[in-house]
């Protein structure tokens, strides 16, 4: 683990900055990461600046213009109520990415705390990990469906359900890394100096296991975007009134035989965001993998 070596030796600031710039260059020097990051930037810009990018109000009904195929005025066509599909796909980025980001934030926080506790305190390891194993023996989408069924279909509950689904993944990764780091000399030194347990966990262990967490977070973001779309498609997710990509495909499917664009474009948006996140995640993993580090 060269990350921990770096921490124990505490290199002077300029070296660290140079190392950071080397990592930055290496990361974006990889074509796959660069392309992924660009695609992700496009989706993020679309989400942030949706009101300025869209030619129409995503909820404005124009019954006379219903089910128009993609053409000059409506790049992605119009839906069964005459709403502009392009505007809806752009606004959909807001909801889909917001749900994904919140799921990542919650599951990474909870998963990191559980994983740190399981990895650091021997007595908690067994109980926590058995529950994690049990939660991971449900297929993701099935557990999410069941949780939403119980909690009720709403955007908040979809976020809660998906966070419960992905927390065990983070916990497992964090526990495995914590087990390695806690045996290192600098932790023993901190313990001997009487540093409080919280400080050891959050300031000494957590920064050293940040890279696997970061990689896991990008993948969970991608899975959460896909899972939200799946739940909404099944009618057990976000209410149909909100234009997420999943609800758009769900309401478009009954018109698919005459207006395939209702299904195609929201699907492309899902693929674009999931693919870009996985490309960035893959690149990060390769870069941060200790086995590959020596080649940098």
């Amino acid at each position: 683990m060269s990350a921990t070596d770096a921490a124990t030796q505490a290199p002077p600031a300029p070296t660290r900055r140079r190392a950071a710039s080397v990592i930055w260059r290496k990361l974006f020097g990889r074509r796959v990461v660069l392309v992924g990051a660009l695609m992700l930037a496009i989706v993020a810009v679309a989400a942030l600046f949706a009101p300025w990018l869209t030619p129409y109000d995503p909820t404005a009904l124009r019954i006379l213009d219903r089910l128009q195929s993609p053409r000059g005025a409506h790049w992605f066509g119009t839906d069964e109520l005459g709403r502009d599909v392009f505007s809806r796909v752009i606004f959909g980025a807001r909801y889909s990415l917001m749900i994904g980001a919140l799921v990542v934030a919650i599951s990474v926080t909870c998963g990191a705390l559980l994983g740190l506790a399981a990895g650091y305190f021997r007595k908690l390891d067994g109980p926590i990990m058995r529950v994690v194993d049990a939660l991971m023996s449900f297929p993701d989408i099935l557990l999410a469906i069941a949780l939403v069924a119980v909690l009720g279909a709403s955007m908040t509950n979809v976020i809660i359900a998906l966070s419960i689904v992905y927390t065990p993944r983070v916990a497992r990764v964090v526990r495995a890394s914590t087990l390695v780091v806690r045996e290192l000399l600098f932790i023993e030194a901190a313990q001997a100096l009487g540093v409080s347990t919280w400080r050891i966990l959050l300031l000494h262990i957590l920064p050293n296991i940040a890279s696997p967490i970061l990689v896991q977070a990008t993948f969970i973001f991608a899975y959460a975007v896909l899972a939200e779309a799946g739940l909404s498609f099944l009618g057990v997710g976000v209410p149909p009134a909100l234009p997420t990509w999943g609800t758009m495909i769900a309401s478009g499917q009954q018109f698919a035989h005459q207006a395939i664009w209702l299904v195609v474009f929201p699907g492309f948006a899902i693929i674009l965001s999931a693919l870009s996140l996985q490309m960035v995640g893959d690149g990060l993993r390769d870069l941060l993998d200790p086995k590959l580090r020596k080649t940098l």
């Binding site: 194993d133 023996s137 469906i145 499917q253 699907g267 693929i271």
Partner: protein
């Protein structure tokens, strides 16, 4: 494993108790009268304290009783058994397709590591993991079933028609599910193959003048496929999850379809039963894979 299953059962029991309010009232919906709710509470033992309910439920579970479906008016085990056939064949075919795509492509990608084939196949794997299966299902259905008429659009034949006719309905869904899930197997095969190709015995074989074809297919592949077995357990979970969505797209009357309709009808005993059976299968399959691993790799000892 027994402990994990016990925790699974406990989780399943308490997940349904997470619902805000009275489960009986939630199950019966808004039109229910107070008397209806009281009757249901009594018949499900919901008027008893939670630990008593839990003990009773576990006892029934141990006897293989998953309870009674509220909407279908029959035991949950029977409802699950009736719907098992399409789901079983769908996951089986999809697994076959995923392996037929994933394993050879993974080998080729590893052998030509870094070349354009490797990049193309690795790109395909990443794309496969990013495509929602329900979306691909809808698109392929429009092209091959609605447009070209090669396959039935949706549904599954009656139990009366020959099995082959029923299975014809599964071709398109199985392709969708198989293609989407081949990504994991491809990546895993590639990584495993790369590990093995870097080992000493491969260099020895090459040094002895063994042909490259024989090195790859005989010396490397057999060793590389051992770790790939472990990924089948994970693939099973993905396939069952994917089956839930794919069955809904193609109107297949399988377990996934049962679960989704149970959710929409708030038929909690069915949801509980399906969760338990699927998680149980997952745990069992992983145990079998561990045992299989022991059998095929003499180096592994538990």
């Amino acid at each position: 494993m027994a402990i994990v299953m016990l925790i699974v059962a406990t989780l399943v029991f308490f997940i349904t108790r997470l619902a805000p309010g009275d489960p009986a009232a939630v199950m019966l919906g808004e039109q229910a009268t107070a008397a209806d709710i009281a009757t249901l509470r009594a018949s499900y033992g919901l008027d008893k304290p939670l630990p008593v309910q839990f003990a009773y439920w576990l006892g029934e579970l141990a006897r293989g009783n998953l309870g009674q479906s509220i909407f279908l008016q029959r035991p949950v085990t029977q409802a699950l058994a009736e719907r098992a056939e399409p789901t079983f064949f769908l996951t089986l075919f999809a697994l076959g397709i995923a392996m037929l795509i994933g394993v050879p492509l993974g080998i080729v990608a590893a052998v030509w590591r870094g070349r354009w084939v490797d990049q193309a196949f690795s790109g395909f794997a990443m794309l496969g993991a990013s495509v929602p299966s329900f979306w691909l299902g809808l698109i392929l259905m429009q092209i091959f079933a609605v447009g070209l008429g090669w396959f039935p659009v949706a549904g599954y034949g009656d139990p009366g028609v020959p099995l082959a006719d029923r299975l014809r309905h599964l071709v398109l869904p199985a392709i969708v599910l198989g293609v989407v899930n081949s990504a994991l197997i491809l990546r895993f095969t590639r990584a495993s193959m790369l590990d093995v190709l870097g080992e000493d015995h491969i260099r020895t074989a090459r040094a002895k003048g063994v042909t490259e074809r024989r090195v790859v297919l005989h010396h490397a592949l057999r060793n590389a496929l051992i770790p790939v077995v472990t990924v089948l357990g994970l693939t099973f979970a993905l396939l069952i999850g994917g089956a839930i969505v794919t069955e809904t797209v193609f109107g297949l009357p399988g377990i996934g379809n049962l679960v989704v309709s149970a959710v929409l009808r708030r038929d909690y005993p069915v949801i509980q039963g399906a969760l338990l059976v699927i998680a149980g299968l997952y745990v069992l399959i992983n145990l079998l894979i561990d045992l299989l691993y022991l059998a095929i790799d003499p180096r592994v000892k538990y």
